[in-house]
Amino acid sequence: MDKIKLKEIKCISYERAEIKKGYTDKSLRVNLDSNEITISPIEERIKNKFIGGKGYDLWLMWNAVKASTRWNDPENTICISSGPLGGTPGYPGGGKSIVTSISPLTGAPIDSNVGGYFGPYKKFSGFDVIQVDGKAKKDAIIFIDGIENKIKILEASDLPTDSYELSDVLTRHFDEDKPVNVSVVTAGPGAVHTNFGCLNFSWWDAGRKRVRYKQAGRGGIGTVFADKKVKAIVARFGAISMKSNNPADLDALKLVTKAHSKEIRELDPKQNRMSLVGTTHLVPIMNDHDCLPVHNFKFGSHPESRVIGEEVYEHIFDKGFDGCWKGCTVACSHGVKDFSPFTGPYKGKKVFVDGPEYETVAGCGSSLGIFDAHTIIEINFYCDAYGMDTISVGTSLAFVMECFENKLITLDHTGGMDLSFGNRFNALEIIHQMAGGEGFGAIVGKGIRQMKQIFAKDFGADAAFMQDIGMESKGLEFSEYMTKESLAQQGGYGLALKGPQHDEAWLIFLDMVHNFMPTFEDKAEALHWFPMFRTWFGLCGLCKLPWNDIIPEDNKNTSEPAKVAKHLGWYADLFSAVTGRKSSPEDLISMSEAVYNFQRIFNLKMGFGTREHDTLPYRAVGPVTVEEYESRQERYDEQLKEKYSLDIGDMDSKEKVAVLRQKREEQYELLKDAVYERRGWNNNGIPTIETVKRLGIDFPEVLEVLKKNGVE
């Protein structure tokens, strides 16, 4: 396209803060109502307690929003942070950004962890965190220029609407000679018209000479971004080295970086081969263990799943370096070159598709009954280009398809489209409609929670059945694991602060396959430790994959293999080397525990965060229908007889479904009790005064929220 024109609305020059031990100790606030640009210091006490990343985001948000704030109020805030360890070149997964806002889907704080170079470029430009609030009158671009030391608000017009083209155009515009210096955050039309808009975070792929991107997918932060009329946030910075973070101990940093990087380079080819197939190896594995969502999580496997797993994608992915961070040896961000969509605005053109990953394959493939690798790639491409979360899109569409097959909705409601499982053309058509806010797609784009209300109220659909099969909790659509046979993973989803996303606790194998946690106490301990440690990655600007997706060869000989002790030690060394704050693996857990509990209380502040909000649709717990029960009858019969000592001789399948449901729902409530106790929460799921004092988050405003909820 021709040179673009941007009108400067505001520009400030600033003195770039020197990075000290991974921190700039500065935050940047851009208010789009007033076009004010404010640079503020970050207090030492906040730094010590909230560490960085998601911790900083949540603290700034807490102070920006009221209990009555809704996602589309001007005071709702989008925060993007990296963290003290973010931006370490060569450290595997060392370039993450963490994005937060009040979610259009849940009404509570949502967080999303994303690759690309934006977080480090922003930090090295002088800011640990950027906070964007207010609403622009016209489409705006926020430009953080860490080379010229300027912050600009620019008015944008006549720019491409989709992320695919927009990311490319803006990257070339802001540094035509060195596009590697630019990282762009964009949304797209799907973010305007749905509640699950995502953000695309870019980086320049020097080998392919093109822009690539990763997604901050969960919870509709892209929708907030679009509502604020932010067209893009751009960061520009120059060369980065191991010294850029000005680490406390450069030699120690080099040592731990080299060790972790080398191990991954040597062991990944022998283990999951993520540098070749990304996370698509999980497709056949989940399928074989009956954990792959099929037909809206009704079933856990399908004979055709082999054609959408690693064996196919390994041959489709373009060969080359696919790290979403500089020098990352996991390098799992694969893509498809010269893909030619058969629908939509890019029909017949050749495009590069970033993905798909496991979640997209499962959510937009098997869960929809679509066992076609190319259709999944096309759905992936359009979701990214339109700025929509592939997980929420897939899980929402799966719900719609099951409603359609059960005649809860009909051709009259869908605009004449047959939305039976497997109908790939109409699935794509719905996605195009969602992005345009048109037709039945406009309803689907509201997400499952609102769809359930609309289908019941306007179409007379069975509300109780939809409650059972609508795979959402707290308003967020489920990510893509079938949890019926893993009570711990049910807790991993149901007790997750932001809703059912697996980044807090992925316990399905440890629990279901390895039987590593047979008692409630074991499960509760796991549902304490794993969410805490996983939270730590989001505080520091790191990716979790290098921790336990590629593991040391002698790990199996350690006392707790699931924790990967050698890597815990490396992460403690990394934190110590960069920040100078000498830390042990136990210290990392303590850091997370404070922020984790603070987020739980933030949920409480916003009207959530209690026991009633930790509920699950029964589909996540057990078989809703006779069809599901009978598909695994031997398993369920045995459980009723052996585990619950029931005489089922005279029961028909419908009665068995009912009695199994009663038992499983009781188990889930008992799990809640055990987890709340382990986390230091009361029986209603609220942190106690003792807990917040122990963690040092007993700020007056925190105690006030607790008091309002009967905890004092």
Partner: protein, 65 residues
């Protein structure tokens, strides 16, 4: 002979993945293997016959997500 995690081991006729794992130590976390490049999961270990000269990698699935 077969190769298991780069170590040579004797092969026997009718050897299955389950029978092989039963002879190895510290394989509690091994629910997936790569048999001659192809993933095989634990529900299929008993029915998976290991051919002579196979190359096997044990994948400790503590991870995911």
């Amino acid at each position: 002979m077969i190769e298991v995690d780069e170590k040579q081991m004797p092969w026997s006729k009718d050897m299955t993945m389950a029978s092989l794992l039963a002879t190895l130590e510290n394989v509690e976390f091994c629910s997936v293997v790569r048999l001659n490049g192809r993933l095989v999961s634990s529900p299929k270990f008993a029915e998976t016959i290991i051919p002579d000269n196979s190359k096997i990698q044990l994948l400790p699935m503590v991870s995911g997500g």
